[in-house]
Symmetry: C2
């Protein structure tokens, strides 16, 4: 599968979150070229502030001895929690849908040896832009801005 | 309450985790001088690799607009996931039981404006040391060493 096909799956996860009344941010974890876990932001649905899309995806992936052969696809540039997690778990590669609506921590990931690809995917940009415009308070809570 | 009294509560959380068959790492979140949430590592109990003690404590604390008046107490120096989370959530202060068994990311926290106090608490050191000696494989999985 291509970058675009995996990102479309992360986007579909994000849209699932939106349909549940949550933030439209999704992620998929690939291992040896196959999707092994999917997740989306569940802060609102679960009342859980650490349930960002990447964290939910890693929760769904369950316990594993190594992330050596994995790639994380995420619709939005990872925050410091999710970036720290990617580094801690030694996930070697992250593909990011967009960094326009939230610039995240791409340099921090790269400085810690993570290969980062930024797709500038128009679907991801549009989805997040519309959500932030319509829900500025929920979005600011998600990234702990006050 | 004193640093020692709050750390004893984090230690009690860790011991709860040990009694459940999990890793003995615990945390409490203080807001305006009162315990508002407790948590402990539940990787084994919940099969969830992101459920470190600090993350479980923040999950239990639920959604909040701000962490401005909070202090996190944790029995063991935070890993990169938990450190990134502390920074992302703008928790201004962290009190760490010990950094002998895992040195964590104290400089990273401090460089990002977090006030860090390292207690070198003998109870925390002994608890973790004994666990690692008896369960090296579980411990290495927890910090993603392979």
């Amino acid at each position: 599968m291509s970058h675009q096909e995996f990102m479309d799956q992360a986007h579909a996860e994000a849209m699932k979150g939106l349909a549940e009344g949550g933030l439209p941010i999704g992620a998929v974890l690939i291992e040896n070229g196959k999707v092994v876990a999917r997740g989306h932001n569940k802060r609102i649905q679960d009342g859980n502030p650490v349930a960002h899309g990447e964290m939910d995806c890693l929760t769904n992936a369950g316990r594993r001895a190594s992330y050596r052969n994995t790639v994380m696809y995420t619709t939005l540039s990872p925050c410091m929690m999710c970036s720290g997690t990617i580094i801690q778990f030694k996930i070697p590669e992250v593909v990011i849908g967009e960094a326009e609506n939230f610039d995240g921590n791409i340099a921090f990931l790269e400085n810690n040896g993570v290969k980062v690809t930024l797709m500038n995917d128009p679907n991801c940009i549009k989805m997040m832009k519309e959500f932030i415009e319509e829900n500025p308070t929920l979005w600011n809570e998600d990234i702990a801005e006050d």
